[in-house]
């Protein structure tokens, strides 16, 4: 292998070089800007995580699996996974092998950026070696892999259902330019290497192509134009990259270490939030996931469009999109990159200024502390349970049967847990409510806080500072009672389908305990979409602006999903889900506590 061009340069590399330098400068600028925007504490945490061997290894593993191999996509849909990993991994290997070629054959040219990319133009094959032909074979193999991926990508644009996607994103103009440039790069590379293969050598793809070309094109006049075209396609893609969805490629490499460092979204647009916004690949998985997309009017309110509008700075649409969302978290659960759509929306809401701020200073805590004192177990039913009083009554009855000594904190009404206020973005007001409740709970002297409302449970777990108090959802607590033998469950012949409440399932990761308890007291069936894919009931307090009628459609959609199980009744573990479903359901809706209460006997009673 010898250097064919003595100067080692040709003007056709310029478009690529301009694009490459532009992208690198842009990313460097972005990294510096984001690092400045992080709070000092977060920055320190992030930098320390980068030099900690454990997180460093995890970062490398995650970037390799998520960005190159797309393991999560493979699990979702094999075609989708193959398409993405063939393009990403194939392209990565082409770059790596290109560098290896330069290192092996003309190491003196390694300092140029463009040699590994345009290797075949600059070299002439003078002798065939095993290493050389193996490398050429691998280059052609990975080029073929990428080309297969590109072909699948084109098919996906036309028939997305093959890839398990009902709806895909409507892309903006700049995204289309980037996409067509990306599609053009690899066929052009194949052509360029094909025209050059009789000089530079090639393998199973390029040499036959070269032979075919030479049958009717007797000269090398086509060589340069195709190399130019290849370089221009690369250049266009690189220049468009920072302004298109393809920015997710560099942004994700920043997102993964930041997430592994344990960073949380703190601002609406800056720092980690910015990284999240840029990491959205606009794939549109969230569109099918969103419970709101049952009505066509709401399709443009999914997370993919939120990130797009934040990048554009369209304040009106940002407000609309963030206010409408139910914050059910399904888009986040299904997102392949892990964009935290709900949290991003809450932060957008928190930017809003209100002329009138809440004031709870006249609420006296002392009488509430007194009412809550007396037992080690403090039961908080949550304000929403006042609409479904049977939940509180059932929990009370079960606890009595099991012989648990407890105090019902808000039997005669209590304060809100503060989560509805927090989801509305009024974080300071929510903090004020949280502090009142903290005083009551800590003042009561209890060591266990038993909660029956998942909305409150998530809030207590995440936003409260309760040293020495175990916060537990009743499904966990009752499971414990059953294990200890304090509670005996008897099977009935009713078949329930269990609806995972958003806040309990995706919010707190509790999927098993409710199912186990229902399984012990009745037959259980599964709906079509279940667990982390469960569909929000439509009653969620997350949404600020959804109308009654729009909510009805969402509830109907969620019920249709539950009906697929053909169960006799619906079971859930959230007062809000129960109240919402009960309004439209054609079959009974029971809370988990009611089911347990009906089927349980206490330890003492069984003894008698």
């Amino acid at each position: 292998m010898i250097d064919r061009i003595p100067s080692g340069f040709h003007p056709f590399v310029l478009p690529f070089m301009i694009g490459m330098v532009f992208v690198l400068l842009y990313c460097a600028y972005g990294i510096v800007k984001i690092m400045i925007q992080l709070t000092a504490e977060d920055r320190k945490k992030f930098l320390i995580s980068l030099v900690t061997p454990k997180t460093l290894l995890k970062n490398i593993k995650d970037i390799f699996c998520d960005c190159l191999l797309h393991v999560k996509l493979w699990k979702r849909n094999k075609m989708l996974g193959f398409m993405h990993s063939s393009i990403a991994f194939g392209w990565f290997m082409l770059i790596v092998l290109g560098h290896i070629e330069v290192i092996l054959f003309i190491p003196e040219r390694l300092h140029t950026f463009y040699y590994p990319i345009f290797f075949n133009y600059f070299v002439a094959e003078n002798d065939a070696t095993v290493a050389g032909s193996l490398l050429f074979f691998l280059m052609d193999f990975f080029l073929l892999l990428v080309l297969t991926g590109i072909a699948l990508a084109i098919v996906k644009r036309i028939r997305s259902r093959i890839f398990g996607m009902r709806r895909t994103t409507r892309h903006s103009l700049i995204n289309h330019i980037g996409m067509y440039a990306l599609w053009a790069i690899f066929p052009l590379r194949l052509l360029a290497e094909g025209f050059t293969a009789h000089i530079s050598g090639g393998s199973f793809l390029t040499i036959p192509l070269n032979w075919v070309f030479r049958q009717f094109l007797g000269n090398d006049l086509n060589m340069l134009p195709t190399w130019w075209a290849y370089s221009i396609a690369l250049g266009v893609f690189m220049v468009v990259l920072p302004f298109s969805r393809f920015m997710h490629i560099p942004a994700e490499m920043m997102l993964i270490p930041m997430r592994n460092a344990g960073l949380k979204i703190r601002g609406a647009r800056k720092g980690f939030a910015r990284v999240q916004v840029y990491s959205c690949p606009n794939c549109g998985v969230c569109i099918d996931a969103c419970p709101m997309s049952v009505s066509k009017a709401n399709i443009k309110d999914c997370t993919v469009y939120l990130t797009r509008q934040i990048r554009r700075g369209n304040e009106k649409r940002i407000a609309e999109i963030s206010d409408k969302c139910l914050l059910c978290g399904k888009c986040e659960a299904l997102c392949q990159v892990g964009v935290e759509g709900p949290q991003l929306r809450v932060m957008q809401r928190s930017l809003r200024k209100y002329a009138l701020e809440p004031d709870y200073s006249n609420i006296a805590v002392e009488p509430l502390v007194e009412a809550a004192s007396g037992s080690k177990v403090l039961y908080f039913s949550g304000c929403m349970s006042q609409l479904t009083p049977e939940i509180g009554r059932s929990v009370e009855s079960v606890l009595r049967k099991a012989g648990v000594d407890f105090t019902w904190m808000d039997r005669d009404g209590g304060l809100c847990c503060g989560r509805p206020m927090a989801t509305a973005g009024r974080l300071d007001a929510a903090r004020a409510i949280v502090e009142k409740n903290e005083k009551i709970i800590l003042g009561s002297g209890a060591d266990t806080l038993l909660v029956s409302c998942p909305i409150c449970y998530k809030m207590f777990r995440e936003s409260y500072d309760l040293p020495g108090v175990r916060v537990v959802h009743y499904s966990q607590y009752f499971s414990g009672l059953v294990k200890l033998g304090q509670l005996k469950l008897e099977k009935s012949d009713i078949c329930y389908v269990y609806h995972d409440p958003c806040e309990l399932g995706r919010g707190c990761g509790i999927y098993e305990e409710p199912r186990r308890l229902i399984g012990l007291s009745a037959a259980i069936a599964e709906a079509d979409k279940t667990r982390e894919e469960s569909v929000c009931c439509g009653g969620s307090l997350g949404s600020l602006s959804l109308s009654f009628e729009q909510r009805r459609k969402i509830t109907q959609g969620a019920l249709d999903n539950l009906y697929t199980s053909h169960a006799d009744a619906i079971a859930t573990a959230c007062p809000l889900c129960k109240a919402t479903f009960a309004r439209y359901s054609d079959r009974p809706v029971r809370d988990l506590a009611e089911i347990i209460d009906a089927q349980s006997t206490g330890y003492k009673q069984t003894e008698r």
Binding site: Y354, A355, L356, I363, G414, C416, L541, L544, E549
Partner: protein
């Protein structure tokens, strides 16, 4: 004045010609469903904040329609959203309160 041991309550006569209804009108632009309220009081009956601060969506809407001040009540709201669940008219009461907080100008 002679002390009879009781007093007359202040007149609640309302003169709609002089009452300042600008806030109500502004609110109706943002939350048109405020007009559909029939003052049934379901929202007040379920209100979490009510027992502590006298908050009542029904009263807030009625007072706004009469040009009275609602500041203290609205400040007590915890946005728990139970009022939406029980409203027979399907009013998005939670958004109504948020809009009111946004445009409040007294």
């Amino acid at each position: 004045m002679m002390d009879f041991g009781f007093s007359l309550s202040k007149s609640s006569t309302l003169n709609l010609d002089t009452a300042d209804l600008s806030l109500y009108k502004k609110l109706c632009e943002l939350s048109p469903d405020a007009r559909t309220c029939m003052a049934c009081g379901s929202c007040s009956a379920t209100c979490t904040a009510g027992p502590f601060s006298g908050m009542s969506v029904r009263k807030v809407i009625l007072d706004l329609q009469r040009g009275r001040d609602v500041k203290a009540m609205v400040q007590g709201c915890m946005l728990c959203g139970k009022c939406i669940m029980v409203c027979p008219r399907g009013i998005n009461t939670r958004n109504l309160i948020l809009n009111l907080c946004k445009i409040y100008d007294r």
